[in-house]
Point group: C2
Chain length 203, copies 2
DNA sequence: CTCTAAAATTGACACTGTCTATATTGACTT
DNA sequence: AAGTCAATATAGACAGTGTCAATTTTAGAG
């Protein structure tokens, strides 16, 4: 078997990832140090080096798992075949919003290019799947040739990410009364929805 | 005088900020350590403690200066009184895009809530000025009462920030051929512009 | 049972921020 | 002019960090 269950820990790599995720949720990525993860997993501070060459690799793997979870959630939510492309985009939007609002530290890790390796295959593959899902659905919507689907994808993805990111920084926090964050988030969704509807219409 | 020119350094606080900005541009915020800043300013590693209680305070001041610069640039660019609100928003957009693309490390620092103190007055004041400028111009555009200007501001700000942020992570980098970044950025601007034009029209 | 390669440990190094005590400076008071 | 004193700069120490090297432990093959 490829994953040899060795030593007293069984599968330390998986145990390290679980410990890292726990610490991430509690303490932000700053708390996810090699030594803290090792301590929670019950091993010495240098044990993780056997499974991850450095901290960047550990965090990259952690981020990749989040992208995989997100993609799975999008697929699960849009598996019904009576959904229109616009509805499937809404599913993607909902998944990201819910994920970001529930797990802000996980979400922010996804974009920490200074801590993770965006060019790594394990990260790029699931991220591309999500992105391709979006561009694919947009392509089904747009009829006229004057608009570039990729530009629309960039615009939508930008607004979605920007809203989440700024919301987490507290940029909008006390500028208006958002409590659960949902109403304002749905307003953003409706803006995007209207925009896409507008694109479908002939010029 | 409040700012006493004392000791051999004259105004160490300003010298520290200059050194910090240089290092930021070269090495990202990770390189802006207290000790590195002190070394570049030619003082001992504990000297900055007299002017900034901790690293967070230093970085917060550094970020505040960037917001002040941005606001000044927006004002300088939109001082002509023959500009329409939509044009003034375009100026804000251009200033942010140019600032972000030219100085990515400065831009990213502005949103590192884990490193700077977003509630500090010195930071919140110039940031609010920029944000209020945007909401003010949007308010001039929107006529119908069914749309909340603040929501529109959030949407626009989100798209602008999201595009810059994602672009810096390399999310769009090799998914299409952007070289200078300007064409795609202008496409985003035109999307926002169209959106605002649509809002002006009666329902 | 032995051998071996992977896995885990221990210790060390150069960093970091920040705290303490100490020394220096410059301006104000008497 | 001499002295005082708060502000400013220094040097040293401490607990952290990531990562490297040498060492020991383990699990399974022969």
């Amino acid at each position: 078997m490829a994953k040899s269950k060795s030593f007293h820990h069984g599968d330390l790599k998986r145990a390290l990832m679980r410990a890292a995720l726990e610490i991430l949720d509690e303490d932000d990525v700053a708390g996810v140090t090699i030594r803290a993860v090792a301590k929670r997993a019950g091993v010495s501070h240098a044990a993780p080096a056997n499974h991850f060459p450095d901290r960047r690799a550990l965090l990259t793997t952690l981020a990749a798992e989040q992208f995989e979870w997100i993609f799975d959630a999008i697929q699960a939510g849009s598996s019904r075949d009576d959904l229109m492309p616009i509805d499937r985009i809404a599913v993607l939007f909902d998944v990201f919003l819910q994920f970001g609002l529930e797990h802000p530290y996980r979400y922010q890790l996804l974009w920490r290019y200074d801590l993770i390796d965006h060019d790594a295959d394990i990260l790029r593959e699931p991220a591309d799947r999500v992105y391709d899902f979006l561009t694919g659905e947009i392509g089904k919507i747009i009829c006229r040739k004057t608009v570039d689907p990729d530009t629309v994808a960039v615009a939508i993805w930008s607004m979605m990410h920007g809203y989440l990111d700024l919301r987490m920084t507290g940029m909008f926090e006390d500028r208006q009364d958002i409590i659960s964050g949902k109403p304002r988030a749905q307003a953003i969704l409706s803006i995007i929805s209207d925009y896409l509807e507008g694109l479908r219409a002939a010029p």
